[in-house]
């Protein structure tokens, strides 16, 4: 573990500095400063949650496809099977695996995003 400071602490320090100077910036730069602060938040969440999310995604895709591989290999394989029609919306377990993966991805990218509501069962 590299610490004193940890990577998250460095990110927080930079984010805090951006916040402090934002009010002095012209409107365009103030907007970009907000985007930059958001980018740091994404990095922070990815540092904390990324490894577990990727491991879980790999496991789900492995189970769905019946093979091992990295998450990139498994995603590529799944894309090929979907493109060739070997799998589609009605393939058992497909939507559940994709949903679980994307829920963890959006928790990193945009945790406050309010997704399309599910239809009540």
């Amino acid at each position: 573990m590299i610490d004193h400071p940890r990577a998250e602490e460095l990110l927080d320090a930079v984010a805090g500095w951006i916040d402090g100077v934002r009010s002095e910036l012209n409107p365009r730069d103030a907007f970009l400063a907000r985007v930059a602060a958001n980018a740091l938040s994404v990095v922070r969440r990815e540092l904390v949650q990324g490894a577990a999310a990727e491991a879980a995604a790999t496991q789900r895709l492995s189970a769905l496809l019946g093979r091992d591989g990295s998450v990139a290999e498994l995603n590529a394989d799944l894309c090929t099977r979907l493109r060739e029609g070997a799998m589609d919306r009605d393939t058992p377990g497909l939507l559940a695996a994709l949903k679980a993966n994307i829920v963890e991805q959006i928790a990193i990218d945009q945790p406050n995003y309010a997704p399309e509501p599910g239809r009540p069962a």
């Binding site: 979907l82 939507l95 991805q105 309010a114």
Partner: protein
């Protein structure tokens, strides 16, 4: 650039405001790489009038572009106005001798265009419940208008083919986008006669007044001919609901109100399933556009911090698409 625009407008002032009219308060509002928007006033014997200048600053290639020329945009505004749709009326289409290049001038309509304010600001509480129905009625009007010459016609399969090519060229391998392409290609609704579409009818392109609701439909540059459900579905894409995903139409209303307003204003009955199909296609298009904006950073064309961050919005379209598929799309 401000000086050049001011001089050109000064020359036009008598045309806009009568003999002796003056140009005042010229201010650039926004501008992408190819289009500028300016606000100004003309002050003359008839009083003061607030106007908007739209002006293309980069050469326009009508073959390659998705958007229409400003001349066609002016014709669209006039055609929509003729059938009663609320627009910012055209005041002047620039001629070569005006020195503005490709440009037009419209009246400036007051109100709010920021989607988040329209869905959440208490100022809009009184009009909000009526907005979805009003949007349906406006779309029925637009779809009944006589299209100006020179518009492209696009159906669902052509739209999917266009975006699938862009997606393939990006090299990205995203299973939800792949599934959405294949599913939407397989389940395209039967083709129907094309009508005039706005092409970008969503919360963000509507000027909303706290008393009268939708006061003007803006940004006509993506107008084309196609399936009426394309416009109805686009305003329902969750990315334009600004956090109010529980209100499917623009973050302010219900599907039923949108479709009832459409029929009451003379539009045909359109099944909700067809609107949901186009809503999903809309999410998929927006997802691919986000990928492209990231690509423009990755290949060095754009250096702003904004572009790569938009790439992290692809996942919002993916969670919406997988949910629509779970819901039975």
């Amino acid at each position: 650039m401000q000086g050049e625009v001011f001089e050109a407008l000064k020359g036009l002032a008598p045309t806009l405001g009568g003999e002796g009219a003056q140009i005042a308060d010229l201010q650039r509002l926004s501008g992408g790489a190819s289009m500028e928007t300016w606000a100004f006033a003309v002050v003359g014997g008839r009083g003061r009038e607030e106007l908007i200048l739209r002006r293309r600053s980069a050469p326009f290639d009508p073959e390659a572009a998705r958007s229409v020329s400003l001349e066609v945009e002016a014709a669209l505004i006039t055609a929509a106005s003729a059938v009663g749709a609320p627009v910012a009326p055209l005041v002047h289409l620039a001629r070569p001798q005006d020195g503005l290049g490709e440009a037009h001038i419209t009246r400036r309509i007051s109100g709010e265009t920021l989607g988040r304010k329209i869905v959440s600001d208490p100022r809009f509480e009184a009009v909000r419940p009526g907005l979805a129905r009003q949007c349906g009625a406006i779309l029925a009007q637009i779809h009944s208008a006589t299209p100006p010459a020179g518009l492209k016609s696009v159906d669902a399969l052509e739209e999917l083919a266009r975006y699938e090519e862009v997606y393939r060229n990006s090299g990205a391998e995203r299973p939800i986008l792949e599934l959405a392409f294949q599913h939407l290609k397989k389940h395209a609704p039967p083709p129907r006669p094309a009508v005039l579409l706005h092409g970008d009818f969503r919360n963000g392109n509507l000027m909303v007044d706290p008393e009268q609701g939708v006061a003007a439909v803006l940004d006509w540059e993506l107008s084309h001919l196609g399936d009426p459900a394309e416009d109805l579905g686009w305003i329902c894409v969750n990315s334009w609901r600004f956090g109010r995903s529980d209100r499917p139409v623009g973050g302010f209303g219900e599907y039923r109100d949108l479709l009832d307003g459409y029929v009451a204003a003379g539009g045909e009955e359109i099944p909700l399933s067809r609107v949901l199909y186009w809503q999903a296609l809309g999410s998929l298009k927006w997802g691919v556009m986000c990928l492209m904006m990231y690509a423009s950073y990755a290949n060095g064309t754009e250096v702003s911090v904004e572009r790569p961050m938009i790439g992290r919005r692809v996942s919002e379209t993916e969670i919406d698409l997988v949910t629509l598929l779970e819901n039975g799309l």
